[in-house]
Symmetry: D2
Subunit: 411 residues, 4 copies
């Protein structure tokens, strides 16, 4: 009788077609409730306010990144790079779990919900818990994640300037937003990968694909991730949470799920967060529905500031935002607050929830730490910033800063 | 100076590229809070349990269907069919609003949350409220929706065997699930539309595209909408809601947002629903996050049945499901319940939440009411079931029924 | 130092992305001049007269089919089917070479240029020549092609109802024509393949994909391959060649490349074709440019019939064609010839080059020989015609015949 | 009875879906034999040697560019820019005909087949002939093409830094080669077009799309159009033609179609070409099949140089090519010629057909003449080179030159 019937688990992915689960370990990780939580966390937070198609989840993203890792391992092996089965499994697991620490609306709320705790540390904490449950089967994956494994190039697949994470998210975010400017030749880049001196290099033929990747990444930043309407929505959400925590700090009752309530009424520091397992337990229950579910109820809260902010976000009646290359004049911002305070009949201090200015920054290529190395036919290796024949890739290393100013629409 | 700068509002859609908002009326409808709610309701409910990409929302779908309507109007006009600007606006509005009555996990929960109230009636109620707010600007749109407008073919664009709704959802669901079997030539079908005797017909050249459309629709039903794992998830959700309402009916406290709580603790009949505006007010606040937000909290409810069911769905530890063409033997199902009751230490009555059997049905082509008419070059018009040269399209009109049986996985 | 740098040859394919050349044998075959000829033969002959995008070549198609074969072998191996490296190479080579015998505008001209010699026999002849050159390295590939190899299922990958040839051409032709109706889930079908009793079967989950494949194939026939304007163009080309051979037979001088001239002035029978190596030598030089290059020159030939026909094709001033399900009345056709003869001032016999009627036929599913077997979870195997729950797949086995009548446009 | 049935002519295009023929004038132009010739000329010449998918024709390209023009006119009109029906028709005709002067392998052979005659002048000559045939209906189109029409911005749609030609060819070449790096947001660019002071400008929101367009264009140059293997193939073809003309000049007989023979045995200067209508008559008969049809026959020519070169191209046994940023040392090249001459037993002069060095150059953005202007929300207009916030778009204006050296493979 035929063997293996229906043993091979595959996942339908609109971006790559079918994705195969490469091993039982990976299968067990995906089935775990910590991992399933990622099904309920959108990859791009509030970007769907501008790009309605951007509903994809972190679950889809890490499955995709894992499938690119399998492909990269295959290509490297075909070029004679030794990667054994256990290492392949470990690097796949590492890619799969690297984003597990993300909470709902992660980049936006990281500093509001749990101050001073970085999502990568939370990922590591989850990995260690899973490793205990799995009797140490994740040891090598954790080593690769922490870059303590002796084959350093494996860590670079997980985290570097051209890691599987970036290759997948550019491709996927571009697919779901409909912004064609972000389409990259991930296939070509992976086919051009090689290893020299324990570091990932890109063969000469892939140089244009890398340039395109760097440009595409920059364009996606300004056109999607830092699109001004997206910033307005995210900053609004930050202020909602800040107000809610302020109210909670004053003992005022707020509707929230138990897990979310915990983080509204407590602010564990980093040390506390990792020493008391209850924090991580509750954190593992949070997803987008906790935040939006509460926010909708807060629309009828008696606190006028909170309810006004929440309605703005629920009904997509977002703040007016303007952007410029220089900071906004502090006096001007202050005047604006005063006029809003008067019109809304609130204090000038509270007006700061409606009128605010800050900055956003992006660097397309940050060669410190890891750079992108090009391997020439003659064996020579050179940084892309020098290898590129035309323009100043190095210019991409210069951070771009923009300043924004938000105020209510009808102002 | 240049005119119209940035007046033309466009929406990025990964399926069609750019979608233009055709008029101010349509713009105002989209901005309304009732409409914005559709951003938070997934088009395919729990299908993402099988197809992780299926995260798209009803918002995206109706915007897409509206854009196909604009295209259809253009094509029909180019063939000499008179459609004035007001009619164009009205049919677009009608398509845009036809799905407004959907609640969260609509097809699944319709009969559980508000018994006996059909989502199309709720759509109409919303439309009438909006019409009041907009001083009657929606009058013609409502007439078209109710098929009381004298140009009947406009209603067929909103609702018929090949309406804009179906053309969009097949294309879109296929895009987001990654199931290529559902890709249809919506472009060709729309280009082949014409009007004869006040009815939409498809010109002869479009006959294969129509056949393909009927087949694709059938395949999408069995491969996506009625995929057995999707059925298992949806039936599980139904039982969770039934249990919650049972507990609510017994005065037991359940975590829920106020809007959701209202429908857990009350069951308005159809007449009551439409006469007391409070019901629709609260209904307009419901979305996916109310359901899943509560369900996650119920995982630690003291009622063992409720918490067990909720954990199954949250962690995607879905019931084992089998499918067959004949009903399952009632005795066998009963035996299964008894054994589950014993193993879980619950009553046989409660075991019915874990062991259950029912049927699903689909008809690919239901010609009663509206059929699909083919227009030949010689002016003759014929139903597709007769026009198709090879097989029995009429066979597609025969409903297919399948029976399923669910029980806990480790049984 | 790194190994294998740039050894792995890849081909850019717009349909599948990158295609890897799996082995040195395959690489050598592709580099051979017999194979390179396929770069100059369009896959769809004159279909570009209707679908301007249909310019793809047989080279692209067989490379694509070969890459699907590699994928199928991988899937089958993962299910425990034993296929060793040599067998993998052989079945790939077999798929790669199975179309090598095609000449320019093959399906159209097969019976005109070399009467009675089937293109598959010519493929075999080429394979045997190559096998000699390659010191027998193609022995197993030839056995698989001829179905004399003991693992019969390998031959089915090369030639059967769902072989790699069909999976590729439907996908590819659909891509290049822009006819979305032909898009199939080739990926799903290949993932669902298995082997039972030395025969390829499709696992139960793939049943809808197979139905869709059969329907898509039928639609592509009527919408592309047998599109009436394509038939008009192809039948016109047949008549051009018939007239040219008639003139050649009468010793009249015709411009042509030496290879084409050989087949205009000689008509080797099957036995002669294979016994005298000169025929195959010259055949191996023929491609689309020989035919069209000559045809363009014949536009100014002194023979009025030949030049008129050639101008029609060159300038896409194609015959008027009508289609019906019954044969055309012979008297009517005769009358038409007489009237055309008078108007063009030619004999009624010559008018048959301008006025002609014939039939085309297609069967979507021909289970004789090979059928498509579905493998159920319980191990049972059943023909798709019985397995499909709804309609009459068996109806697809009934050939559809259509009759056409062509005459000059201005008639 | 229904009107307009089947009057609207549409063309299936795999890149954009359906393209509608906007008017009778455009329909008549497309049907003309001069235009139909473009069906037989590949857009990318010999690029298919590297990218087998690159088989698309100039016919497809200009139809595509025309359809983008219709879209651009629609967008501009919606912003209040006055373009009447006649102007719309004229600018479409102008785009459609602007490439008509291209011969087979145009960029490669322009300077070999007809020295000193630019393809744009030939396009104009064709347009004037057509204008005579059409009783002056092309007058305005010709004015727009020559930039003598008073609305200068219409000419910019035909020819400028972001004209419809470029938008289509980047998108299309990228589609057919499978090089995703060339995908551009043509849709976004067109939606962002506006007119200020009779010049096309791009609204601020389109700035990233324009940057991406410039980068994509550069990448396509180096990755496709000037890919080193493509250069090797094209330079080989140039040498084949040079040798053939040399032999023809010495009275040696060469197989060729009459039209091709004319240009082998005569070399009309620019003045002669346009004054004697026979040249344009014969030129209008040339297409890819003339060149390749002859070249294949020349493989058995008695001239050893010619036959060796032709076999290399036919069998894709291309010269070895190396690329560098500085010129190759003349002595080194000379030495190489001598050694090849000895090995092939030919003169050193003839060895120059096999060993040769030259340079290729590309400028991604050439602002002289036309530049790309960005329109800000405040009405200000600025060149993209200054408007772009990060890098040196101006660096893209610096031409990049590369030097290549070819010699036979087995050297």
């Amino acid at each position: 009788m035929q063997q293996g019937f229906n043993k091979k688990k595959i996942i339908n992915d609109p971006v790559y077609g079918f994705v195969s689960i490469p091993s039982e370990l990976i299968y067990d990780l995906i089935e775990h409730r910590y991992f399933q939580r990622l099904r309920r966390i959108r990859q791009l937070g509030l970007s769907n306010m501008v790009y309605p198609g951007a509903q994809h989840t972190r679950f889809q993203h890490v499955i995709g990144a894992m499938s690119l890792t399998v492909q990269a391992v295959d290509i490297l092996r075909s070029k004679g790079i030794a990667i054994n089965a256990e290492e392949c499994d470990a690097v796949c697991a590492s890619v799969l779990l690297h984003d597990m620490g993300h909470g709902p609306f992660s980049h936006t709320l990281e500093e509001v919900i749990i101050k001073g705790v970085h999502h990568e540390d939370i990922s590591l904490a989850f990995m260690q818990r899973l490793n205990d449950e799995l009797q140490g089967r994740l040891g090598m994956a954790i080593d690769i994640f922490r870059n303590t494994y002796h084959k350093k190039f494996l860590h670079q697949l997980v985290s570097s300037q051209v890691d599987m994470d970036r290759l997948d998210y550019l491709r996927r975010d571009s697919f779901y937003t409909g912004v064609q400017e972000g389409v990259i030749g991930h296939d070509r880049i992976i086919h051009m990968m090689n290893v020299v001196d324990d570091e990932i290099v890109i063969e000469e033929k892939g140089i244009y694909a890398i340039e395109k990747f760097l440009i595409a990444r920059r364009l996606m930043y300004w056109q999607v991730y830092l699109h001004k309407t997206v910033i307005a929505a995210e900053e609004l959400l930050v202020r909602i949470l800040q107000r809610a925590k302020f109210l909670a700090g004053n003992g005022i009752e707020l509707f929230a799920s138990p897990a979310f309530r915990h983080f509204l009424y407590h602010t564990p520091g980093k040390a506390d967060f990792f020493s008391n397992p209850q924090h991580l337990d509750l954190y593992s229950e949070l997803d987008d529905s906790d935040i939006f579910g509460a926010l909708k109820v807060w629309c009828s809260h008696t606190d006028a500031v909170l309810s006004a902010l929440c309605k703005q976000l629920r009904d997509r009646n977002l703040p007016k935002i303007s952007i410029q290359h220089a900071p906004y004049d502090a006096d001007e911002v202050e005047q604006l607050k005063i006029s809003v305070a008067q019109r809304m009949n609130i204090s000038v201090a509270d007006a700061a929830y409606f009128v605010f200015s800050d900055r956003v920054m992006n660097t397309a290529y940050s060669p410190e730490g890891f750079n992108i190395n090009i391997l020439y036919r003659n064996g020579q290796v050179q940084d892309i910033a020098e290898a590129s024949d035309q323009y100043n890739i190095s210019a991409l290393a210069k951070p771009v800063t923009k300043y924004f100013l938000c105020c209510p629409k009808n102002n």
